[in-house]
């Protein structure tokens, strides 16, 4: 650890999911934390929700709160408000007031994580929210659905306690609306939460009809598309229309919705309840505090961060994470919180020693005492992949003094970002990338292996050993943590005359050209961008996420250079989520035409004489074909996994059906792999933009700090053990373990289970046909004895 570093505590303002995560990660890395929460409990928004998407964490949130409250390194200040802050980065003095006293505290860094508040829809006179009891906000609906609520989980409508039969959701209430909603931005999460609410209701009471009125279905995140398809299959109805007015049905408490359908006809439907999917607004108090601190806000009043520094505010030493930074979902909030921790770690030294892990609940219920073993931690990291995510994580850890080995399969660092000219905001990527590569290449703690790959890995958290091989040599490194950031690939389109006509570009080639010689495109009279090329169809039922923003950015750049250019973006759903909505609007205002197509009605590209391109697309509004003769076409082809099977096997990380790494099923760990001590960042998890990759890279470093900052790590406990005498090497355990822990070494012929990796679920024990495995504390004998004693008592 570098000696010149200032040490200090950290003040985290806001005790929601992001604040808790930041506090816990900091505490685990040895920082004293003040967690300031203005309400009387921590947890933030999530405890108000019925369930969370895509996996429910409701049952975990309380224990997380308990973890914060009981952590010796965290001081939780409830009912508290920050009154005043003086000083500067490394040495802030804050005045915090709770119900009956004023506390002065010192902090080396401040984390703003006070989240959001739901938009108040009273301003929409057309939706008459205040007027009719059966129009509720999505947040109120969560409360109505909650099993601990007054209705004990049975949804009843407020006016007469009747169980509703038909419910409608109206999207974008307080989002994407500069008129009554007063916000241009998309709130990012509402499409998914509405789907979740609808699906939950449908699951509980299949006869209830659920409809969602929406503009663009923003199912851009990992697994979202799949979830949407499930919802559709289960009968959730999606209606593409923004509703003008909710009318009462005379003589009843029902509500009538008249809407313009996709063909411009008026449709009328009655509902028992209407849910307004309200958008996310930055928490007012937090915004006030941010302003007091001199922190810059963005156009939508969220805390602004610096280019390429997704958690750094305009004031040194003050960081932001969670929805105060902009609408985001839980996993992004958690990721950003961990990223903040790593950024603090890069300049501020810890004041305490890492907090010890609490014994888990499994231990409390086991039938025998559990023993652990302390094993020293190798204070070194291995980063696989030298793209943005990998480099950011490596650099962050190196800055804290930990040696890092980067293994990159290509002959240079940079990864996919090498072909990107600008971020969606318009920030110059090549400049940033060169800076980052220089810093990484010249950092004394970072060792870089280019054109190399990992060929072997063994060990467990704190004690990994990996073999790195290139064409000349093979070396072995020992490391306490592993960060996988191997990126993704771009498919080559197989349609739209790609490869047949020189003016049909794939977007990566296109953007590389934009870096080298944008003149090629800037003189064009007409340009066409086609979205979702190979995404969201056939075998690839997911959204490649960044293509919408990409096309919009490029259209703006081209249109700015050459306002006379006619630009057409042919899309299926515009997924410019969050602030990206601003550039979507900017592009429209510049005259870029956006034409929606469906899978049944895909654009047709043909080549006329002399290679002139022709595009036919059906205009979704006029219901007529449009013929465009573009000078070039840019295809936004799908982003796919680059074949991570080998690495996945080596590091015991699961792959999803699309070939991307699967994050821990322990829910609130979006960048932890299933194997402890292995972290995932960047596009190998799912397609994402550069700043999201940066955040994940930094977050991986933040999570890694929790391990590297310790001198020893505990191994053992509730783990599976193989009886070698009985084992017949049948491979059942190998095939059944969700974490690929057991191995049958061909030389040893029996299974072995590394206690450092085993999670103690006991699945292999129950599957083993030879009864050769048992799990400490939960053996067959113990469980059967317990059963019998209960029955005989």
């Amino acid at each position: 650890m570098s000696n010149e570093k200032i040490v200090g505590s950290v003040m985290v303002v806001g005790g929601g999911i992001a604040g808790m995560q930041a506090a816990l990660d900091l505490a685990n890395a040895g920082y004293s934390v003040y967690l300031v929460e203005k309400s009387s409990s921590i947890g933030g928004m999530i405890p108000q929700l019925h369930r969370t998407y895509p996996i429910c964490i409701c049952c975990k949130i309380d224990s997380r709160g308990v973890e914060c409250l009981s952590n010796p390194n965290i001081k939780v200040l409830l009912d508290s408000e920050v009154i005043e802050v003086n000083g500067e980065s490394g040495n802030f003095q804050a005045v915090v007031r709770d119900k009956d006293r004023t506390i002065n505290l010192n902090a080396g860094a401040i984390v703003l994580s006070a989240g959001f508040e739901p938009f108040d829809p009273s301003g929409y006179d057309t939706y008459a929210y205040a007027q009719f009891p059966n129009i509720v906000t999505s947040v109120e609906l969560e409360a109505l659905q909650k099993p601990t609520g007054t209705n004990q989980g049975i949804l009843r409508r407020p006016s007469d306690n009747k169980e509703p039969e038909k419910i409608a959701w109206l999207q974008c209430v307080g989002s994407r609306d500069i008129n009554q909603g007063d916000t241009g931005a998309c709130s990012t999460v509402c499409c998914m939460y509405a789907l979740k609410e609808a699906l939950n209701i449908k699951d509980a009471r299949p006869r209830i009809e659920v409809s969602i009125f929406y503009m663009d279905l923003r199912a851009h995140g990992k697994g979202f598309e799949n979830y949407t398809n499930q919802a559709l299959a289960k009968g959730v109805r999606l209606i593409r229309s923004r509703v003008h007015t909710i009318d009462p049905v005379p003589g009843s408490d029902d509500l009538r919705i008249q809407y313009g359908d996709e063909h411009g006809h008026l449709q009328t439907e009655s509902y028992d309840m209407v849910v307004l999917s309200v958008g996310l607004k930055p928490a007012r108090d937090a915004v006030a505090l941010a302003e007091k601190l001199g922190v810059n806000l963005d156009t939508n009043h969220f805390v602004q961060t610096r280019p390429f520094e997704p958690t750094t505010t305009s004031v040194p030493g003050i960081f932001v994470c969670g929805a105060l930074n902009g609408p985001m979902d839980i996993s992004n909030a958690v990721t950003n919180a961990s990223a903040v921790v790593s950024q603090i770690g890069a300049y501020l030294g810890p004041t305490a020693s890492p907090s010890k892990a609490k014994p888990s609940e499994i231990l409390n219920i086991s039938a025998e005492p559990i023993n652990f073993m302390d094993v020293p931690v190798k204070k070194q990291a291995l980063v696989v992949g030298g793209g943005v995510a990998g480099m950011e994580s490596a650099l962050t850890l190196a800055k804290q003094g930990y040696p890092v080995t980067i293994v990159e399969k290509n002959n240079q660092l940079g990864g996919h970002a090498l072909f990107v000219s600008k971020t969606w905001q318009g920030y110059c990527v090549p400049d940033y990338l060169m800076r980052l590569i220089n810093e990484v290449s010249n950092h004394p703690k970072i060792e870089i292996h280019l054109e190399s790959e990992i060929v072997k890995n063994s060990g467990y958290v704190g004690n990994f050993k990996s073999a790195i091989r290139n064409s000349q040599s093979a070396i072995t490194v020992e490391h306490g943590v592993t960060i996988l950031a191997t990126g993704a690939e771009i498919t080559k389109p197989t349609e739209y005359l790609y490869g047949q006509n020189p003016n049909v570009w794939n977007w990566s080639d296109f953007d590389e050209q934009m870096i080298n010689d944008p003149g090629v495109f800037e003189q064009a009279k007409t340009a066409v961008f086609i979205q979702c090329v190979g995404s969201r169809e056939n075998e690839r039922q997911y959204c490649s996420k960044l293509c919408c923003s990409f096309a919009v950015r490029k259209a703006i750049d081209l249109k700015t250079k050459n306002p006379e250019m006619n630009i057409y973006v042919l899309y299926r759903e515009m997924r410019t989520y969050g602030d990206r909505e601003d550039i979507y609007k900017q592009a429209r205002l510049l005259g870029v035409m956006f034409i929606r197509y469906t899978l049944e009605n895909k654009p047709e590209v043909c080549e006329k004489d002399e290679g002139i391109l022709g595009v036919t697309i059906h205009d979704h509004v006029l219901d007529l074909p449009v013929i465009i003769e573009p000078d070039f076409i840019c295809l936004q082809s799908a982003i796919v996994s680059q074949g991570s099977e080998k690495l996945a096997k080596l590091f015991k990380v699961a792959l999803d059906k699309d070939g991307f790494f699967v994050e821990s099923p322990a829910k609130l760990k979006p960048i932890d792999a299933m194997t402890e001590g292995v972290f995932l960042a960047g596009m190998d998890l799912s397609p994402k933009s550069i700043e999201e990759s940066i955040a994940q890279g930094q977050a991986a470093a933040g999570r890694a700090m929790g391990i590297l900052s310790r001198s020893t790590i505990q191994v053992g406990g509730v783990v599976a053990k193989v009886d070698e005498e009985k084992c017949v090497g049948c491979l059942t355990c190998v095939r059944m373990c969700p974490f690929q822990v057991p191995i049958v070494d061909p030389n040893q012929r029996v299974a072995s289970i590394e206690p450092g990796l085993c999670r103690g679920c006991g699945i292999c024990v129950s599957e083993c046909p030879g009864k050769a495995i048992s799990v400490v504390g939960f053996s067959d004998q113990q469980l059967i004895a317990r059963t019998e004693s209960l029955l005989y008592s």
Binding site: K726, V728, C730, T732, R735, P769, G770
Partner: protein
């Protein structure tokens, strides 16, 4: 590996219903791996039988054991003491193991808990397929390593029958046409010429048609002298 599957509990029960003391013996080799008769399954069979018999008003004593291989005298012999205390043996081994027990313990009735099915392997965990018929004269070299005897439902040697469609057998759409597999593999290996030759009718004399087959290895043959 030998693949077997459990008989229905009622069928097993009917066989052993008249006995009071029964030993269920598992085998730790093939049938453990194919999840039909290892220690775990022995437990399930024994427990199930106890319950089934109790419902019939009986109170049998059913004990459990599992040995490494029921097809080896040494392992079988180790059961001697336990078997002497029971009225009947239920073997959850393959037919080989059942017969081994029967031969070693001539005074105890032995019953099979499994149907021994075929030689094969798991295609996926929990799905086993037959791949060898043990015909005694292996011609796999000619067929690209895929046996037409075991994997063509008609055992044809000169090409597929007309019932092959979409790569599947006429018997079941679940079953691959063995000949399509052979053809595809030989094509990949660029060895299609190997099947151009018209094969004469197979010599089945190595099959079991001459009665129980035996192999005697002079170099290792060793007459046990007690």
């Amino acid at each position: 590996m030998i693949i077997a599957e459990q008989k229905p509990i009622q069928e097993i029960k009917a066989m052993i219903a008249s006995y009071q003391k029964i030993l269920v013996v598992g085998c730790g080799t093939c049938v453990t791996v194919c999840m039909a008769g290892g220690e775990k399954e022995v437990g399930i069979i024994a427990t199930s039988l106890r319950m089934a018999l109790r419902l019939d008003g009986k109170k049998p004593e059913i004990t459990e054991d599992c040995i490494q291989r029921q097809c080896e005298w040494e392992f079988v012999d180790a059961l001697k003491d336990r078997i002497s205390k029971v009225d009947a043996i239920l073997s959850s081994a393959c037919g080989v193991g059942v017969q081994a027990l029967a031969e070693r313990f001539p005074d105890k009735p032995v019953y099979p808990a499994l149907n021994t099915t075929f030689m094969g392997m798991p295609e996926k965990h929990g799905l086993w397929i037959e791949t060898c018929r043990g015909c005694g004269s292996c011609e796999l070299g000619r067929f690209g390593g895929i046996c037409p005897i075991a994997r063509c439902s008609k055992g044809l040697l000169n090409g597929p029958c007309g019932g092959s469609q979409d790569g599947k057998c006429e018997v079941s759409k679940e079953m691959d046409c063995g000949w399509q597999l052979i053809y595809g593999r030989l094509k990949t290996l660029n060895q299609l010429d190997q099947v151009e030759e018209i094969l004469p009718p197979k010599d089945w004399s190595t099959d079991r048609d001459k009665g129980q087959r035996r192999i005697l290895r002079e170099d290792v043959y060793y007459e046990q002298t007690v």
